[in-house]
Structures are given as C-alpha cells and as structure tokens.
Symmetry: C2
Subunit: 450 residues, 2 copies
C-alpha cells in the first residue's frame, strides 16, 4: 500500500496574500508585472517539492487602484513563461467559463500542457460580479445557476475538443506521404444551449489528455459541479469541524456522481504566519494587521458583503439585517463564511478586517514551524484535507519561511516527498490516472474490462 502524502499547492499573488503586503519594506510594488519575481517564487515552491502553483484571476480591474497592487499578468501567459523556468511543478491557471469561448480556451490549455510537458491545470471559475460582465457586452452578471449551467456545457465541449484527436492520430509516414489518420479525428459537432462548436481542435491531444481540472466554488452549485468534474478543489474553511464536514460531503457527492473519491483532492487554503517562537509569530501577525489602511479594509468588506459604501462602522459589529446567502449572486460560500466568522466570534468590523486581511476568509495558521506542521498534520490525518493551498501573507519571504522551516518537518514526518524524482505530469503528482479518450475504441482483441 502506498503511504498517503500531502499535496501542496503554492497560491502566488504579487507581494503576498495580505492586503497590506505591498507596503512592507521588502515588497516590490511592481511585483505583479515582474516575471523575475514569479520565477523566483516558482523556484522556491519547487525547492519545497510542491505539487503545483496557482494563479487566481478575474477579467476585470477590481475596485480602485489606490488601495493596493491592481491588475495582473494574464495567468496562462505567466504560467507559460514559468513553464520554461521550472521543471517539475504543476501550473494551474484560473480562467472563466462565462467570458471565454470553449474552442480558444481548450486550445490554450492544451498548448500550455504541451509546452510544459504535461504540467497544466485549469481552475474553472464562473466569475461573479457585474464588473466583469460589463467588459464582455453584458449589462449585469448572469444568474448564479445560469453561470453554472453554462460552465457544465463549457466543460462538456472542452472535453470533446481535448479528445478530438486520438492519441495515435499522427501516422507520420513520410514514404507514403500520409501524415495523419483522419479516422482518428473526431469533430465535436456540438449544438447546445450556450455553444455550437463544429470542428476538431487544432492541436493534438496533450501529454495529460487535458489539464488537471480544479474548482474552488463551495456553493451548492459549486459542489455539484466539483463532484462531477473536479480533480482538485481549493476551499476556504475556518475550523477543523467545518473542514471535515466539507471534505466528507464532497467525497460523498463524488461517489454519488459515479466517481472514485480518491480522484478528487480537497485542498483548504491556509495562511501560514511563522515565527521562531509563538510570540514572534503573533507579533508578525499584528504587524501585518497594523499595515492595513482601515478605510480600505472597510470598503473591501462592504464590497464582499454587497453593501453600499459607508454602511459599516469600524468599531461596531456587522449589522443584524444582512441578506441570506440565497440573495447573493456573487461568491456565495465566501459570503456565508465571513458572516458566520464575525457572528461566531462577535468581531467588530475592525477586528474582522484584521482577520480577513491575511487570507480573505482563509484560515491563518500562526505559530512556530512545529505548530504549523502540527496543524497541517492534524487536518490531513483527521479527514479534513488531502493537502493544502499555501497562501503566504508576504511573498517571497512567507514562502521561503514555509519551505525552509515547515517543509523539512513535514518531510521528516513522512508526510511530504523529499525529492521529485523523474519528471511526471501534474495529474501523476496528484495521484490521478491519465483520462481515457472518450472516442477511442478498445482494441477488438483486448478482453473487455467489465
């Protein structure tokens, strides 16, 4: 039996996940457009033998640029550049099913998978918010359920496109002048509710068949989608009990969808804040909070809760009359998580901003390397996680600290690989099989599997 080991993903974000990270002396305020910065981060993550790194994204400029670094290199572009600077680590890009066409996006992920030698992953998002919608010819965002219906059809089309070349479609018979076998090309001829896509993809099937499919929405629609398609799920959970409940629920949904629950990996996001003593770690956490400009934090919280500017008072608790999750058209599960956190701990707006500043609702693990490793081990061995999405408050220093001080402990405990070994695909790193091509017939001479 193979020992179960952690899957670690490095969630990269310019100067770090803390909203005030850019104000620290070590931080480069232009890091978000600096390829060398991201190459440096990717190499730290490879030093830590992470499975993958990940870039979030949305096709809009969020809020104002006064508050903090805004805008970002387009993720597939950045990951392509990182593919050439790294050898082993998986490369997961966020891309929207609401604001892309299946043909173009399927081809771009196949291309990244090819140039990276099978290391591409796609974090599938439906993109909440009217701001994005208005950049693509719409006046308002599509309803939550409609976004997910479109996402499901998008995936079905993309899977047909990725399978539209059988793996052995290229014959390359120079003498006969026959390059490919047209019988092994399968145009989707798809006509659906949201998309009509006739022809085969114009790139051969990639090393992984298609990118690792990742998902991060935790709403009801999101969980149903994950159970059907996702191979890895990023999630925000504030307590061990919540994380266990989410993990159990999602694995059960995967079984009900007819899939092996081992083929969906659950990775809660955590913000590790590390010190050589617990006191030092707490002091670092306070230093982070003190760099938040309160007015910026209030405005960001108002946006998350879909409140008008000026609704929240800094030293009061949240208003009692917030709308239920059902009324939220945006990031539903994040909304509920934040409101429940504030109510459970009776936090003032100021305190809530401090708690959210680091990870936007993700859990902060603050302490010594041993304490952080203990927390990771507890979640991993108590049915709450198959691994973690590591979200350092400051970058690069927070990732360096994790790799230098926590990773050796996890390795010593047998929880994490000590080296990559031979090159593998991202899907192999996550312990998942290469998907079969839906159009490939079993060989007539081969015995039937069922």
């Amino acid at each position: 039996m193979t020992t179960r080991t952690l899957h670690l993903n490095a969630f990269l974000m310019n100067t770090g996940h803390h909203e005030a990270s850019w104000r620290f002396p070590e931080s480069d305020p232009y890091a978000h457009v600096d390829l060398a910065h991201y190459v440096h981060l990717a190499r730290i993550a490879e030093r830590g033998t992470f499975d993958s790194l990940f870039l979030a994204d949305g096709p809009q400029l969020w809020g104002t640029v006064a508050q903090r670094p805004a805008g970002a290199l387009e993720p597939l572009t950045l990951l392509t550049a990182l593919a050439t600077a790294t050898e082993h680590i998986g490369l997961i890009a966020t891309a929207s099913t609401s604001y892309n066409s299946p043909y173009n996006l399927a081809r771009r992920f196949a291309s990244l998978d090819i140039v990276s030698g099978g290391r591409a992953g796609w974090n599938i998002v439906t993109t909440a918010g009217a701001e994005a919608a208005r950049n693509f010819g719409l006046d308002a965002e599509p309803a939550h359920a409609e976004r997910y219906a479109r996402a499901a059809e998008f995936l079905d089309v993309a899977l047909k496109l990725w399978d539209s070349w059988e793996d052995d479609a290229i014959v390359a018979d120079k003498a006969a002048g026959v390059w490919g076998d047209d019988a092994k090309i399968h145009p989707p001829r798809h006509r659906g509710t949201y998309f009509s896509v006739e022809g085969a993809l114009n790139v051969p099937r990639s090393p992984q068949g298609y990118p690792l499919l990742v998902q991060a929405g935790s709403s009801e629609d999101g969980k149903a989608f994950a159970a059907r398609y996702a191979e890895a799920v990023f999630t925000a959970q504030q307590t061990l009990a919540d994380a266990q409940a989410f993990y159990t629920d999602l694995k059960a949904r995967t079984v009900r969808a007819g899939r092996d629950p081992e083929h969906l990996k659950v990775l809660p996001g955590i913000v590790p804040v590390i010190g050589s003593t617990e006191a030092e770690a707490r002091a670092h956490e306070r230093e982070l909070e003190e760099h938040i400009v309160p007015a910026h934090g209030v405005r960001r919280l108002e946006q998350l809760l879909q409140l008008e500017p000026g609704t929240l008072a800094l030293d009061a608790e949240l208003p009692a009359d917030l709308p239920p999750e059902d009324a939220i058209e945006g990031a539903k599960s994040r909304y509920t998580l934040v409101v429940e956190l504030a109510r459970r701990e009776r936090l003032t707006v100021r305190q809530l901003i401090g708690r959210l500043g680091g990870g936007r609702g993700h859990l902060t693990f603050t302490g010594t390397p041993e304490q952080v490793a203990d927390a990771i081990e507890t979640w991993f061995t108590h049915g709450a996680a198959d691994g973690f999405n590591i979200m350092p408050a400051l970058l690069p220093s927070g990732l360096d600290a994790f790799v230098d001080h926590v990773v050796p402990l996890l390795r010593a405990r047998g929880l994490l690989r000590t080296e990559y070994g031979p090159r593998r695909t991202l899907r192999e790193r996550y312990g998942l099989p290469r998907p079969a091509n839906q159009y490939t017939q079993p060989s007539p001479s081969a015995p039937a599997l069922v």
Copy 2:
C-alpha cells in the same frame, strides 16, 4: 541622416513553408508541437539579427490531417515561451478579431509585451472561412465587409484598453498606503455596434504602450484597414512591378489617412531557395516539388479557389469560368494572385501546384546567396519593400542557409545591422515611435507642440 536598412521577419511554420517539407529526411513530423524546435528556430533568427519572428494562425483544423502536419500550438502561448528563450527578437502572433473578445485579447498582448520586455506584435486577421465560424457558434462566416467593420471597432476598443492606464498611474507610496492614482485610470465605457466594454484593462500599460500592429490582407478592405492602423504589412507579391504598385499605393493611402508613410513598413514574403550554384538551387527546388503528393496539391488548390472536389484536372489549365474576386468571401487578394499567375504563365494545375507548394502564392527567390541578396537589394532599393518576410521552404535548414549565407552579404552591403546592440522594443527595431496615450494630457507648463 540615418541609413535605411532592411527589416527582416522570420515566418516560422513547423517543418517549413513547403507543403511537402515534413517528408524530407531532416524533418521532424512532430515539430509543430515541439517547443525545442521553435526555440532553435528563434535562436537562428536572432543570430541573423532579424527584427522579429512571426506565427500565422486560424482557429480551426484545416482540411484533412492526411496531407501534412496539422494543428499548431496557440501562437501567444508559443511566443511567450520563446520570449524567455530569446533576448532581442520581436514576437508577432496572429490573432483573430472575429473570434476573440477585445478585453481578453488586449490583456494577453499586454501581458506578452510585459514578459518579453516590449517585443510583442499582433498580426491582425479577420479570419476567412466557414470552418472557423462554425467553431464559434456561427453557421457561416460573416461577410468580408462586416468582418472588417468588426475589426476596426475591435481595434478602437483595444487601443482604449491599452491606454486605460496612464504610464504613471502607479504611485507606490508605501508610507501613505496609496498604490495607484485612480485619476489616471480611464475605463473605455465603450458601447458600439459589435462590442460593449465598460472597464479599464486589468494590467498596466506595457513597455510598448501596445503591441506592434501588423496586417496582411491585401483586399480593398484590407488595405484601407492597414492604412488606418497597421505599422507593418506582410504581403504576397509575384513580380517587382506588382510589389512596387502595392508599395506605392499603400504608402499613399497611409498619407491620406493622416499618417507618416514611414510609420508603415511593407514586407513582402519570399521563399529563398539557396544553393552554392544556381543549378544546385534549381535542383533543390525540383526536389521540393517532387515531394508533393499531386492529389493533395489539387485538393488544396480547389479549396483556395473555392471549387468542389474533383473540379480540377492535373494536366489542364484552370477552368475559364472562375468567379471574380468580388464573389470570394475568403482570402480575396490571394485568390486573384493565384489566378493571375496561372493565366499569365499559362500553367497547368500540376505546374501551378509546384509553384504554390513552396509559399502558397509568395515569391520564391531561387539561386546562389549572391542572387538572393541581389533580388532583395533590388526590391528594397526600387520602392517595392521596406524589408522581407522570410519563409524558408524547409525548417530549420532553410533558415540556417539564409542566415549563414545571405545575411553576411546583406551586412557587407550595409543593408542589415551587424549586431542588435542594446535591448530595444520591437517598435524601436522597426524605427517607429512609442505611441502616446490618448488619455494623457500634456503637462500644463509644457509649451504646446502645434
């Protein structure tokens, strides 16, 4: 006065521009998906101090895969990978205005421009053909004029997006907690015939402001578009006289559009077939033709002429009753060029296929390095070209031969740079100014320029 020198672009295409190139012993039939192959080509072009390299594209799988290598890595993805493997050469990707959204495409080009240090170029195409249309929800291709109307609006929106951040929008005042100046962010708020795009781009203005704008259509609509927007034009011309007429016409149109004609560079495509003697070059040319499978060539010619399969007879001339260019909805100018070539020289279908096999209507310069250099110099100094789009029949060997044997002659004649010198943007290589931002006001204390 600065001496006028050649602008050279390397048009890269898997195993070469000759349709039978993949059948040669030296050719790798999997080159089209091999990053190392393209890195090798890019480095040869840099050794030849070319201004740029270029990838054609269309969002569909052309015809059958039996004939020759089909499909390709998505160009922006491949060029991003090449950006990290090269230092000086410009990187020009083809992308369609008919099958992309301005917000996504503008961001991707800005991202490539940033990661390449200002070396991005965009070959703007409207994409002919029903096959592409059917991959994007349409039953037939939009009419030629409509495609160009959409392209013009696409460009206007893209230019607004690329200018939506002023160059000094980032303040980065850590002490005050102010990262950007919202007064220097300019959302397009565009509502037009084809597009509605509300918000600013989510990436800052790139080193070049925006990518070098390249165009290659030579129809009436194409030339009008080029005169208005293009900074470099790729074109297929079969005779010096035709090339001179095209050059003169396009420069005059540029002046009529209110632009400096020096700010539009004309680059005819040429297929150099080089031998140490003229006889050796001719023998190489014949060897290329002999590798064409006649049935494949006939079918490709029928597709170009929009004829039913089986219409053409191999040893007869073209039928007399071909439709006029006006009736063609696809690549209009290429259609006319091929028909005129066949009529002028009374070529049989077999002969025409041989002539087209190398460059699909581009001119083949066959001879010794001196003869090829002479032809280049003649065109360059006789009002036919500002440079050339170099399209080797075989890759990499044809590009190696050009760089090793023709480039030294061009340098000795003072027609081509001998080294790159300091790093420059692609637009600087082409002798073009960095575009001003349409939203930036002149400083109140600066004297007016007019």
